[in-house]
């Protein structure tokens, strides 16, 4: 694969083309968009109550095609043109490639935050806007105080502890925020804590998958299978088997008893899955794990007597070590608040208790995942994983047992998936095979990839960005409403007026569209773009796991894959 010579016009090289060549290139790319867009975008078919209807949308296809050509043209003018690029960056006149990064840096550090601030001010959310401005000011202050040190070096060591404190404080902050009237649009503290717990599940899954993909370098496309094993273990054990074996009394405690069992079962499945995989190369491995994920899902759907198939299973929700959060008959207490009232301080029933407890449980589980993987990386087994990722043949010649190394990576990754799965079941109170489709695996993989393959902190940010934006967009409704609620009434009104000038068909296909529709296509595109431009992730500096005398950070380009 790497034997293929690098093609001309790849990234990093500056193209110098004459205007006529550029025009020709633009014409060709315009022509190429025609077959891509014309049948599939321009003719919209619909099935309404069994009747097939269609209408043409050549307007939309034309607009998209024009966007492609104009975008490419702009790239030629500003990014691929060395003279224009150099003009933008006066300080380094002879650097041709650098300006590309400079430009993106200006956009990332100034244009984007200021746009967000403007949107927040337009929505009269001055506190959030102020917070961002304070952050920008702090960044600039750091730059002035320490002019010769890189910002990432200064902030880097504080990111992980900062996130930890933030994670612990989140429910409290949300509560205080509510008391002082600082809230996200359409987001109560309940939703916020719930969403944070939901994101934490994906952070934990990302960290689990990271062991397999980021550390051991094995591409696993069926990770959701272990998630499913964990969830179904909890569901079946707590509803069917534990009551049968130990009596009904165990059901409130089922989660705490099942959690280790579910992890073990998922780990066992990891070994079963890992076993055939041992002799396969990366790409075969990917497709085999994908097939495994599908097999497990199909079995869950079709083995009706065992899993009750597509109907799913109702499972007992998480309890506070046996005390439920359900409101009792007279409505003042739940078992949990009664327990607290009896032993500690008076506490009335509130829906939020269960959300806060769920949040802290998944937070603790995720922390366990984080610290276990962090410690494992320093143990011989973790070093063997990373060595395996870099060069399997060298590994074997140095006497590392590649079989065991791969198996442990699979088993440990799967175990964390199992933990997350059984928490998921206990949180939802209901599971069905619907939750464990291939797209979910792809989503977790995307989280790991966008986090920068092997960077645990990167995964926190990517999971938050992806899952958070899904949720926010779901909240906003149609694209027109989204624009209005993001831009505030005034600016949103102007934009709506602007869109209203477009042909009606275009309006229907744009304003009326639900932005949630575009979430997976955005994830897919992000995966491709990430591989093209930042294959080592956004955090490009690598701390060596093992070092001899002094710790030397190296650039991400020096290591073969992911984190070094």
């Amino acid at each position: 694969m790497s034997a293929a010579p690098k093609s001309g016009g790849a990234k990093g090289e500056a193209k110098v083309l004459s205007p006529s060549e550029i025009a020709k290139d633009l014409l060709i790319s315009g022509l190429i968009t025609v077959p891509i867009l014309v049948p599939i975008v321009a003719i919209r078919t619909q099935l309404d109550q069994g009747i097939l209807t269609w209408h043409s949308r050549f307007w939309l296809a034309g607009l998209l095609g024009a966007l492609v050509v104009i975008g490419r043209g702009l790239m030629y003018v500003f990014v691929w043109n060395p003279r224009a690029a150099a003009a933008l960056d006066i300080a380094a006149p002879d650097a041709v490639v650098v300006p590309k990064i400079k430009l993106s840096r200006i956009i990332l550090s100034w244009v984007l935050p200021l746009i967000i601030v403007a949107i927040l001010i337009a929505n009269a959310r001055y506190i959030f806007a102020g917070l961002i401005l304070v952050l920008i000011a702090g960044r600039e202050a750091l730059r002035i105080v320490f002019p010769d040190r890189k910002l990432s070096d200064l902030i880097g060591p504080y990111v992980a502890p900062g996130l930890l404190v933030f994670g612990i404080m989140l429910p409290i902050v949300a509560h205080l925020g509510k008391a002082y009237g600082v809230e996200l649009p359409n987001f109560g503290e309940l939703r916020l804590i719930d969403l944070a717990g939901y994101i934490l599940i994906y952070i934990m899954l990302g960290w689990g998958l990271n062991v397999v993909v980021g550390l051991a370098g094995l591409l696993d496309l069926g990770y959701v299978a272990f998630y499913a094993v964990g969830a179904y273990s909890y569901a079946l054990l707590s509803t069917v088997y534990f009551p049968r074996w130990f009596g009904v009394g165990i059901v409130p405690y089922a989660f705490y008893v099942t959690l280790p069992v579910a992890g073990l079962l998922a780990g066992l499945w990891g070994v079963i899955l890992g076993f055939p995989v041992l002799r396969l190369r990366g790409d075969y491995l990917a497709i085999v794990t994908l097939a495994f994920g599908e097999i497990i899902r199909l079995v869950l759907i079709n083995w009706f007597s065992f899993t009750s198939g597509p109907q799913g299973i109702n499972v007992p929700k998480l309890t506070f070590f046996g005390y439920t959060f359900k409101q009792d008959a007279d409505g003042d207490y739940s078992e949990f608040s009664k327990f607290i009232s009896d032993h500690f301080f008076p506490l009335a029933y509130d829906r939020i208790h269960s959300y806060i407890f769920l949040y802290y449980v998944i937070f603790a589980l995720a922390l366990v995942t984080y610290f276990v993987t962090k410690r494992l990386r320093r143990l011989p087994i973790g070093r063997a994983w990373e060595a395996l990722r870099e060069d399997e043949i060298a590994c074997r010649s140095l006497g590392i047992n590649t079989t065991n190394t791969k198996l442990t990576a699979f088993a440990i990754g799967a175990m964390f998936g199992g933990f997350a799965g059984s928490f998921f079941a206990a949180r939802q109170g209901f599971i069905s095979p619907e939750s464990f489709v291939y797209l979910e695996s792809a989503l977790i993989l995307a989280i790991v990839v966008l986090g920068g393959l092997g960077s645990p902190i990167g995964i926190v940010f990517s999971a938050t960005a992806i899952m958070g934006s899904f949720e926010v967009f779901r909240e906003l409704g149609s694209a027109g409403d989204a624009i209005k609620s993001m831009m505030g009434e005034t600016v949103g009104g102007w934009l709506s007026w602007l869109f209203a000038q477009f042909p009606t068909q275009l309006q229907d296909s744009f304003i009326g569209t639900d932005p949630v529709q575009f979430r997976m296509i955005a994830v897919g595109m992000a995966m491709v773009v990430m591989m093209l431009f930042r294959p080592r992730g956004f955090v490009t500096k690598r701390e060596p796991t093992v070092y001899l005398k002094e710790k030397k950070s190296i650039s991400g380009d020096m290591v073969a894959e992911g984190h070094g």
């Binding site: 034997a3 690098k6 003719i43 997976m520």
Partner: protein
């Protein structure tokens, strides 16, 4: 007798898988990566067939000649569309990644596969699109009466069409690979890309053409899939893609006759499994074969054993 009927059905399905499998096998042979988006290129072919067919159906025209002309045009258009898609995918998502680390093109192709599926889902809504069968009619080969019921082994015109056109396409394709300069360049790149480049072969162009050829075959498979089942949606590429990949592995990855043979076998196994065991587990059967083949026979039926060189 039941068996004979299933044999016919299996061969029909197998032809479709085989045509898709060739795309996987050629791309793997030349750049050593699995093009995860290939199943979705097949899907694009079948969706394009649906849309263009709908347009022709609306413009009217009847009689066998008009229908044949329309179908020929539909095939040509969906081939062109799928070829453009695959060419663009290679150009945008794979070519810049040559020489990057091992997982990069794989991850990129997974992303591309999601993009294609979602693109079609958003543009054409998620529901399955059915259509009235266009080519009806069948030969009755055998009949047998059991009690009051009549059983008949039938061979529909569509099945004949699929099997025959697959044979024709395969012959043409084999001739292209074996007799033309293009095929020689393709085989040379497959053996040793660097050496081929040194000897003056435009490797980039050859790879592009490989993707285009694969897409043309996949589009034809998509066309036949739609004509056979008369229904399609954005998700058909997923299962068909894995099964076709299984076929490519079963036949020996890198081997074109192997891909065709593997396709036929997978088609037969799937049909026989649903006929004699259970319909629900037919996909499980196909995926299990993939796993088993990779464990016990990674070189496949007609492939060469892979020697790892340092």
């Amino acid at each position: 007798m039941y068996f004979l009927q299933q044999l016919i059905n299996g061969l029909t399905l197998g032809s479709i898988y085989g045509l898709i499998a060739i795309g996987y096998t050629m791309v793997y042979g030349i750049i050593g990566m699995i093009n995860f988006a290939h199943g979705d290129v097949f899907m694009v072919g079948s969706i394009t067939t649906f849309i263009v067919l709908l347009m022709f159906a609306l413009t009217g025209g009847s009689g066998p000649f008009a229908i044949a002309l329309a179908l020929a045009l539909v095939i040509a258009i969906s081939m062109a569309v799928a070829a453009t898609f695959n060419w663009t995918i290679e150009r945008v998502a794979y070519r810049p990644l040559r020489g990057s680390f091992r997982l990069a093109p794989l991850i990129s192709s997974i992303g591309m596969s999601i993009v294609l599926q979602e693109f079609v889902r958003i543009a054409q809504e998620g529901r399955s699109k059915p259509i009235q069968p266009i080519i009806k009619g069948k030969f009755v080969l055998m009949t047998k009466s059991v009690g009051t019921q009549d059983f008949a082994v039938t061979l529909s015109y569509m099945q004949i069409g699929i099997i025959l056109s697959t044979l024709v396409l395969m012959t043409v394709f084999t001739l292209i690979i074996q007799r033309t300069a293009l095929g020689r360049a393709q085989r040379a790149c497959e053996q040793d890309t660097k050496m081929a480049a040194l000897l003056g072969i435009n490797v980039d162009r050859t790879i592009s053409i490989t993707f285009i050829l694969g897409a043309i075959l996949a589009a034809f498979a998509g066309f036949m899939f739609f004509m056979y089942y008369n229904v399609t949606d954005f998700h058909v590429g997923f299962a068909a893609g894995i099964k076709a990949f299984t076929a490519a592995v079963l036949g020996g990855i890198g081997s074109i006759p192997g891909a065709m043979l593997g396709g036929m076998l997978i088609g037969l196994i799937e049909v026989m499994w649903s006929a004699y065991f259970s319909v629900e587990y037919k996909d499980v059967a196909a995926f299990t074969i993939l796993v088993l083949v990779l464990i016990f026979m990674p070189q496949g039926l007609l492939g060469k054993p892979e020697v790892e060189k340092i």
